[in-house]
Point group: C2
Chain length 410, copies 2
Amino acid sequence: MANSTTSPAPLAGIRIVEIGHFIAAPFASRILGDLGAEVIKIEPPGGDPVRGWGEKVNGASLWWSVHGRNKRSVVIDLKRPEGVEAAARLIARSDALIENLRPGALARLGLGRERLESLRPGLIVAHVSGYGQDGPMRDRAAFGVIGEAIGGLRYLTDHPPGTTDLPPPRVGISIGDSVAGLYAAIGILAGLVSRGMKGDAADRLCVVDVALTEAVLSLMEGVVTEYGALGIVRQPVGSRITTAAPTNAYPSSDGRWVIIAGNSDLLFQRLMRLIGREDLGARADLQSNRGRIAHVDEIDQAISQWSRQYDARRLAAILAEADIPSTLIYTAAEIAEDPQFRARGMVREVEDPRHGPLLHPGIVPMFPDSPGTIRNTGQDVGADTDAVLTDIAGYGPDDIARLHSQGVIG
Amino acid sequence: MANSTTSPAPLAGIRIVEIGHFIAAPFASRILGDLGAEVIKIEPPGGDPVRGWGEKVNGASLWWSVHGRNKRSVVIDLKRPEGVEAAARLIARSDALIENLRPGALARLGLGRERLESLRPGLIVAHVSGYGQDGPMRDRAAFGVIGEAIGGLRYLTDHPPGTTDLPPPRVGISIGDSVAGLYAAIGILAGLVSRGMKGDAADRLCVVDVALTEAVLSLMEGVVTEYGALGIVRQPVGSRITTAAPTNAYPSSDGRWVIIAGNSDLLFQRLMRLIGREDLGARADLQSNRGRIAHVDEIDQAISQWSRQYDARRLAAILAEADIPSTLIYTAAEIAEDPQFRARGMVREVEDPRHGPLLHPGIVPMFPDSPGTIRNTGQDVGADTDAVLTDIAGYGPDDIARLHSQGVIG
């Protein structure tokens, strides 16, 4: 693969079973797999539906090459008792289990708390759901867009009230699911740390309960506290930052947007010189951030008049040259070509058996001395069933043949 | 405090030194502190500027009560050699160090790799920065808004091209910093797991290098891969989901927005009955998701006509009653009152010595058997200097008095 190292990745030796689908739980285990954990993804016959999402080449999803990477794929029908038994045998040999079925569904399959604890006393079990494993709303359906709205993110991602009749846009990626996945990864790792510190005393299940709504809420800064104390309902502010001016997205001559953050006293002076508006730079009422915030419309208009004269690439170059914090708003094209991402392996070419060379995002967080590798690019559904059931669950060839013929595994 | 438990929190016994400011690194250590780690925040004289951010009561920030919680505050002037020595003594007794100075600044202070390794061979060191610790861009200034734009998030958080002349709105919270903080927490925990597995062999520094730009990029689904393979530049889609219809934000009579996700065949039928448009439910060309996507404008218009008849609370109740995945887009007010958040302690009242009772977000991820507590609500600057330097760094009262009088500590 693109990357090799002699020092083992930080999570080498950790084994995680995933009973997950769509985004949140699989994203968590992908991050852990990127860091070297062995991830066994248990899929239903036919596989996780996310295998078919996004743009495809020859019927194979490109996103799957990333989302499914660094995992082993095992097909087990968990609606069959022998399937549950096979999963139980894998769990018994693993450090952690992550799942995002509806709350209670895992227990109904026969893998409730007591069973899991008897299988593997010190197991970490991470449940990921829309609203959490208990409480009055736990059984309601939650998609990412709903969790993002309940957590408060959607309301604040908008232009100020009265600016437009358009509805508030989504963050254009599955942000709520991904953030829930990151919290689930944190939970699993904190559980492993805790278990390690307890040594042999780690004889109880360590349960982690991540809700998409709560993962989003936890990013909400002082929003809840300010409402509780002062009754202030934080409002969306569009493309600006309300506390530091000027900071905004400014138009280029070719229809793009460039972020300029000229919001310290020094940067403001430098920016006004650059755009030929020393008159604004000299004005007494614009010397402080407070004053600039009060006159932000006037300042933003001056910057926009200047920025519209140049195309986006030229604008970005002029601003970089003047050492003013700024950037073109990147599309996929700029990301793919960015020299910093390339230099750090954060955009890298990876060989995919289905597609040939593909661009993948790198491994985050980076461990420079043991960076981990992209060991596979999303296995075909069930590609590892026989090997995993043999090597880890201890099934013999006759059992495996029988389970195949009965449709319990695939 | 609001919450107590007999089982220790998962990270009890872990000690982390933070040399951080603003959001990313302090957010990471707050999450680890919430899970029970002892976090020692080293601040310059005067304290982290974020202490003054956001809405205030009697001059004290409300956000700080959350952002600064579960840490000890130690004031050390790291520009003084004796200050660096005091920090070194704390680091020597800690499990991890997290910092977000400019790349290279820590080494220039005298806390480079070799020194840290000599102080504490198995230390986890997490660096958080805009662009990472190496590469051609490492020294450029990066604010959150810049990292979000480079990582690709800003471009996709917008209405479709041609819909409006307004610039793309920000996600209205510091999402890039927070996500970088989550990855830093993952890095520290993975390092601790790795160190635990290696036992006494963990005699080398474990370095983690998190860039804000890269943390954002890692959430970008198949965006880079699809561009690389097909040249497709993913475009923003506004308030819809392009792959499943109908899913959108719909207006209420009182100027609010309600998310409705009626995008399975079954849910679509149910929703069309609810809004009195059985004619659409019966139409042959709308029976499949593909067909609904092709006619999404017509469907969204019908739903909007219906939704505008009701105020937001009534709309949400009608939709919940009909069991259609949906929610009002929550403001701070709805978050604070939500029965599910309250039931799970995710919005809770906490006593703040400066403010009296305040609403805080809860601890995520939740460990139901050892949930951790909110042990403090952001210490005053330097509140723990003497105790920490005495108990952990081993300074005597005379040294501490001298360092105070020399202005090395505060």
